[in-house]
């Protein structure tokens, strides 16, 4: 009697496979102890919070938010670039890549799983930073309220407490954090694209940093290219290349202005998010196009 295995159809695209690769990627990155940077973040946050003690409470909260969100922005960007740049070379070095691709796993799923793993890592890291930030901000708020109660006559205490509360937790912090995540995710997708044809992690990291810097001057180049008629043809071509090839990262530099009271309309915020998601999708697809033909 011969037993036959049940016939299973191989799915062209499987979310389960992508999920498995993403979760393994996240696990690998966690094992690399990347979360140690959170300690630095915590020290920076608590240290700066203590340093601001001599300023007025409006100044303290303003600076605490600026420092915390600035640090979140730097750390998530660094994490995005470094984790993504090392991912493919490490898989090749460990020969994990061959083991996975020898199975019926399309390269598209492998790359998508890797990107989603990094995005999950960024999400976890940013969530941890947010929790720390909320704890420190809450502690400062309580100390601000205690000062307000102590320093104001009873008739003005309620108004003073209201002022302290208005200066700490505001709903505008949410779009700030979303934009920080989006920018880091964009940088991760871009780094993934670079790592599909780069020969080393160092090269990928260097180019990712340069692209990040150029991305912040891209709008200047773009406006100069489109508005200036007096520049020569070589300059025009150079500016056009910068404007067209590089992403406009200033579109995501909204945090500094939101923190000082700028209100971003929901529609405008969603347009910014849409631009970020489009960039991520385009860079990922370009990365896949490169990776699908890569000789392994």
């Amino acid at each position: 009697m011969t037993a036959t295995l049940p016939a299973t159809r191989h799915q062209f695209f499987s979310l389960a496979r992508v999920g498995a690769i993403a979760s393994n990627t996240l696990l690998e990155l966690v094992r690399l102890k990347v979360f140690y940077f959170l300690l630095i973040f915590a020290l920076l946050l608590i240290g700066s919070s203590a340093f601001f003690a001599k300023l007025s409470f409006q100044e303290q909260f303003q600076m605490l938010k600026n420092f915390a969100l600035g640090a979140m922005s730097i750390f998530t960007w660094l994490l995005a670039v470094l984790a993504t740049a090392m991912m493919l070379p490490k898989d090749i070095e460990d020969r994990t890549l061959y083991t996975i691709l020898a199975k019926p796993v399309p390269r598209f799923e492998y790359l998508l799983g890797k990107l989603l793993g990094v995005l999950a890592l960024l999400f976890v890291a940013l969530s941890f930073m947010c929790v720390m930030f909320v704890i420190v901000l809450y502690a400062r708020e309580q100390s601000g309220i205690a000062d307000a109660v102590r320093e104001n006559p009873p008739a003005q205490v309620a108004a003073a407490i209201e002022q302290v509360k208005a200066a700490t937790f505001t709903t505008s912090l949410i779009p700030c954090i979303v934009v920080i995540y989006l920018k880091a995710a964009l940088c991760a997708a871009l780094t993934l694209l670079l790592s599909t044809f780069a020969t080393s992690s160092i090269f990928t990291i260097m180019v990712a940093v340069v692209v990040y810097l150029i991305g912040h001057v891209q709008p200047i180049a773009r406006e100069y290219w489109l508005a200036s008629a007096s520049v020569g043809a070589p300059t025009k071509i150079f500016l056009a290349l910068i404007s067209l090839v590089f992403p406009d990262l200033t579109a995501f530099d909204l945090v500094d202005d939101i923190l000082v009271g700028n209100i971003i309309a929901f529609g405008l915020f969603m347009k910014t998010v849409a631009l970020g998601v489009t960039y991520i999708a385009v860079y990922f697809l370009a990365g896949y196009f490169m990776f699908s033909a890569k000789e392994l």
Binding site: V245, D256, D257
Partner: protein, 256 residues
């Protein structure tokens, strides 16, 4: 692989061309909503150095501005007014939408530095000390005016400007205009419309207008009938020779 790389570059160029109008439109909308207002030019580069400029350019303007603000605070403690001004010039250039920075810059110049200039023991000539004091008032005014130009929809700086004109320049007409602007904005302090009327009452040629304004405030009810308002109303009723039957009742008090 090289062929694919060229194809990716061409595709990115195509994507770049497709996204160009959207990006420009988005930037215009961001600017209309008061985003990206910082002036990152060469003069700022000279002031904050290469690393600071690079950090500001890379999206960390707020952190650089905060560092400079703390430096300005230290300079203020050491009464180094030149350094305070240079730091605040950089801070406000980096964060033009932060009214706190404009307010503090103006306060340091118009109140602290001006007082220090007037009491400067190294300057024996009083006329020069007074001149220096007035120059610092002008610097404070300049910060407030530039701050208002960058934050036209926020009442705080108009309020501060009105106070500066009233207390330092003793220019009640300008103070009245500043308080009037402040009062018409949302979230303006409740006293702004009253202060507008008080300052207008002291602006030559605007007594009738001030009287009408004070009267309208008086008729809003008991909450507005504060001692200062009653005194100015009483004073203007006398000055404008309002007929007794048209006058509002003012409890007997001294005129201002």
């Amino acid at each position: 692989m090289r062929r694919r790389l060229v194809m990716v570059c061409v595709a990115l160029l195509g994507f770049g061309a497709a996204k160009l109008p959207f990006e420009r439109g988005l930037e215009a909308q961001h600017r209309a909503a008061f985003f990206h207002g910082a002036r990152l030019d060469l003069s700022l580069w000279e002031r904050i150095g290469q690393m600071g400029f690079l950090a500001a350019l890379s999206g960390f303007r707020a952190v650089v501005a905060d560092g400079l603000y703390i430096d300005a605070h230290v300079a203020w403690e050491h009464t180094e007014w030149g350094r305070v001004k240079l730091d605040f010039d950089a801070v406000t250039a980096l964060q033009p939408r932060c009214v706190l920075f404009w307010d503090q810059a103006a306060w340091h110049m118009a109140y602290n530095a001006s007082a220090a200039a007037l009491l400067n023991p190294k300057q024996p000539r009083e006329a020069l000390r007074i001149k220096a004091q007035r120059e610092y008032w002008k610097l404070g005014e300049d910060y407030l005016l530039r701050g208002i130009a960058n934050n036209p929809e926020r009442p705080l700086l108009y309020d501060r400007l009105g106070f500066l004109y009233r207390e330092k320049f003793q220019d009640h007409c300008k103070a009245a205009r500043a308080y009037a602007e402040c009062a018409r904005l949302p979230k303006a302090p409740q006293y702004a419309h009253r202060f507008h009327a008080y300052e207008l009452a002291q602006c030559p040629g605007h007594e009738r207008e001030a009287y009408e304004l004070l009267r309208s405030l008086y008729r809003r009810g008991e909450d507005e009938r504060l001692p200062t308002l009653l005194r100015w109303l009483d004073y203007l009723q006398e000055k404008l020779s309002i007929p007794p039957d048209q006058r509002d009742y003012i409890p007997p008090r001294a005129t201002p």
